[in-house]
């Protein structure tokens, strides 16, 4: 464990942005949601749910995507992405919880979900699954600092139950990522025909799986640059190939669903909805697909980062289109997020990035930075190291 890290100006910038978010949150608690937010009776969710919950959870999908790839499908080539992915997942879910504490009208009552029985409510399922999965992520990640702190015996015990819990995490993720889509299937009268689909649960699950590798690649490239290690481009390029397949399949899925539902007319109409849809399809799927299919792009750090950034932005726009932009209630009712709403979500995001940056320097998160060779580290790596873990195989 390396406590002697030096905070850079980027750290201070992130802390400053977080502080602004905290200040706005204080106003929200002191004077009510209406004092900082534009959400209203017609648009009760808005940006907080669209970005702060829907997008945060989608990004948190990087945890189960990479865990599934490495541990379930056994593609150990991507092992060095596992710890960053689990940490990002943990921070995204924590961020979503913080968002929830701001966004809920009565956050002190949130425990009520855990003592209720409401199997008809998608939010009930999301609440339970996300709560359990957050604990799984915490468990998975906790092994890293615990081992560093010299709690080796505890870590050995944890490794025994790692396998069933890891599988539980991957399973729970499939359930609640899709349930976020189920949540929106209830309101066909509000969501524009371009986005409302019977298959929203599957579209949301698929987009969460699609955004996982994109975020993992982007993080890896950023870490290589800012933490100063040589990225293994062969490994990253092969993951980018998988990502190209995911983006292509999602594009086919989304457009196929649209055609099957007979919503092509809406796609070709000259409305703002159609524009937002084309932006999503064009910049979020088609463009990154073309980029990712080019071997030059997959070998270029910068181009690959851009392509993955586009995929992430596309998923963000998709979530916003389904939950905010694509919603119309009555024509005289409008919603545009306030600076206060956006400020709080940016504060949460900045806070999560700050914590990630600090932990990435204190703890052995990236194998490339470890002094020991990668193969030996793998045997000792607790988060997801099954080989060599006593009692697991």
């Amino acid at each position: 464990m390396n406590w002697r890290i030096r905070l850079t100006r980027w750290d201070f910038a992130l802390m400053a942005v977080t502080a602004v978010g905290v200040g706005l949150a204080v106003v929200r608690y002191a004077a009510g949601i209406g004092s900082v937010a534009n959400i209203n009776n017609a648009y009760p969710w808005g940006w907080w749910v669209g970005y702060g919950i829907m997008m945060m959870i989608a990004l948190g999908g990087v945890g189960f995507t990479i865990t599934g790839l490495v541990e379930v499908l056994g593609v150990h080539r991507y092992h060095s992405l596992l710890r960053p992915a689990v940490l990002m997942g943990l921070l995204c879910y924590s961020g979503a919880i913080v968002m929830l504490m701001v966004e809920l009208g009565r956050p002190w009552m949130v425990w009520m979900i855990l003592v209720s029985w409401a199997p008809t409510a998608a939010l009930y399922e999301v609440g339970w699954c996300a709560f359990l999965y957050l604990n799984v992520l915490l468990f998975e990640f906790a092994m890293v600092p615990l081992e560093q702190l010299g709690w080796g015996r505890l870590v050995r015990v944890m490794r025994v139950v790692y396998m069933p819990l890891m599988l539980l995490g991957v399973t729970l993720s499939h359930l609640h990522q899709s349930s976020l889509g189920t949540l929106m299937t209830l309101i066909p009268h509000k969501v524009n025909v371009l986005w409302w689909s019977d298959l929203l649960p599957l579209l949301f699950l698929f987009s969460a799986i699609m955004v996982g590798p994109a975020l993992a690649i982007l993080e890896y490239l950023c870490a290589a640059r800012w933490l100063g290690f040589e990225p293994r481009m062969d490994m990253i390029a092969s993951l980018a190939r998988i990502e190209a397949w995911l983006v292509g399949l999602f594009l086919i899925f989304q457009l196929g669903d649209l055609v099957a539902r007979g919503a092509v007319d809406a796609m070709l109409s000259g409305t703002w909805f159609a524009l937002s849809f084309w932006a999503e399809i064009g910049f979020g799927l088609a463009l990154p697909l073309v980029l990712l299919m080019m071997p030059e792009v997959r070998q270029s750090r910068r181009a690959l980062a851009v392509a993955c950034g586009l995929v992430i932005a596309g998923v963000l726009l998709h979530r916003l289109n389904v939950t905010v932009i694509g919603l119309r209630v009555r024509h005289w009712e409008t919603y545009v997020p306030s600076l206060g709403e956006i400020g709080i979500t940016i504060g949460i995001t900045a806070g999560a990035m700050f914590v990630f940056g600090v932990l990435a320097r204190i703890l052995p998160i990236h194998e490339e930075l470890a002094s020991t060779p990668v193969s030996e580290r793998r045997a000792a790596a607790p988060a997801g190291a099954l080989r060599g873990a006593p009692g697991v195989s």
């Binding site: 009776n41 009208g105 409401a118 008809t120 409510a121 998608a122 349930s179 189920t182 949540l183």
Partner: protein, 272 residues
């Protein structure tokens, strides 16, 4: 979560053809539910009612709609209030069962269970539940069908005060028969549609009108199937999916790890 209408189930007819726009129902509603008065402003259409829309202080609203009937424009009134669906979307969306359909018909709100997620507001096809965003401990607000009064054998406050019998209250079966009888006996007065008989699987409030409902501010084009069906078909398979996925992932993990162990053993054999 939701009790479907039983034989005891009550309903209300809102006969807009009998409404004179006196808004006594709004006043009675406010006073029974202890809602404060509002300062309101004039706004530019559609409708000229006051206030413009339901909110946390107004659980029911008479809408004033200027409609050309025959040769000249005329006021046609409509009414907004919770429809008390037979299978309410709001209750099905509530993660803490703070909203539930009671046997007598009302969809009631338990403020002690509410976490303020506003899923009910998002879910309601009639756009009824409202929120007091300015409050530090906000609550969902909507018509209660005067559940406490009905429980005690009384009529809802609005039905009690209506001077023109535009609001009728009774057993749901009787109310449906009565609404059908009115349309059949005066086909010139009513359009042949009971709003709430079939909408979203039926509701406990039935509206009658002289003009098409979309002209007087009603949400139209709703399906005749209950809204919760939309999510139910996904959510009911969740436990099965959970078991299935867990088993599949466990099997996959077992296969891939056995293979990689073999590989590792093989590699070690080669190097040794």
């Amino acid at each position: 979560m939701t009790a479907r209408s039983s034989a005891k189930s009550k309903a209300m007819i809102q006969d807009n053809t009998r409404c004179i726009g006196c808004r006594a129902c709004m006043v009675a509603c406010k006073s029974w539910n202890d809602r404060p008065a509002d300062h309101t402003d004039f706004f530019a259409g559609p409708g000229y009612q006051n206030p413009r829309d339901l909110d946390a202080n107004n659980y029911t609203l008479i809408t004033f709609n200027e409609i050309v009937t025959g040769a000249r424009p005329d006021w046609v009134f409509g009414r907004q209030l919770c429809m008390h669906c037979e299978q309410p979307a709001c209750a099905s969306a509530c993660p803490t069962t703070a909203l539930r359909k009671t046997e007598l018909g009302p969809v009631v709100f338990d403020k002690n269970r509410c976490i303020g997620c506003r899923a009910c507001m998002q879910a309601c096809p009639f756009l009824i539940p409202k929120y007091d965003y300015e409050n530090r401990a906000p609550l969902i607000h909507k018509c209660t069908f005067c559940a406490d009064r009905i429980e005690a054998g009384l009529k809802p406050a609005c039905a009690t005060v209506c001077p023109t019998s535009a609001i009728s209250f009774g057993d749901r079966d009787d109310m449906i028969a009565e609404a059908k009888r009115r349309i059949a006996t005066a086909p010139g007065t009513y359009i042949p549609h009971i709003y709430g008989l079939d909408e979203v699987g039926g509701t406990s409030v039935l509206h009658l009108s002289s003009v098409p409902f979309e002209q007087i501010g009603y949400v139209t084009g709703l399906p005749n199937t209950p809204m919760p069906d939309l999510t139910h078909r996904w959510l009911r398979v969740t436990p099965h999916f959970f078991a299935l996925l867990y088993a599949v992932f466990a099997a996959l993990t077992w296969i891939t790890h056995r293979r990689s162990h073999k590989q590792v053993d093989g590699d070690q054999g080669k190097t040794a």
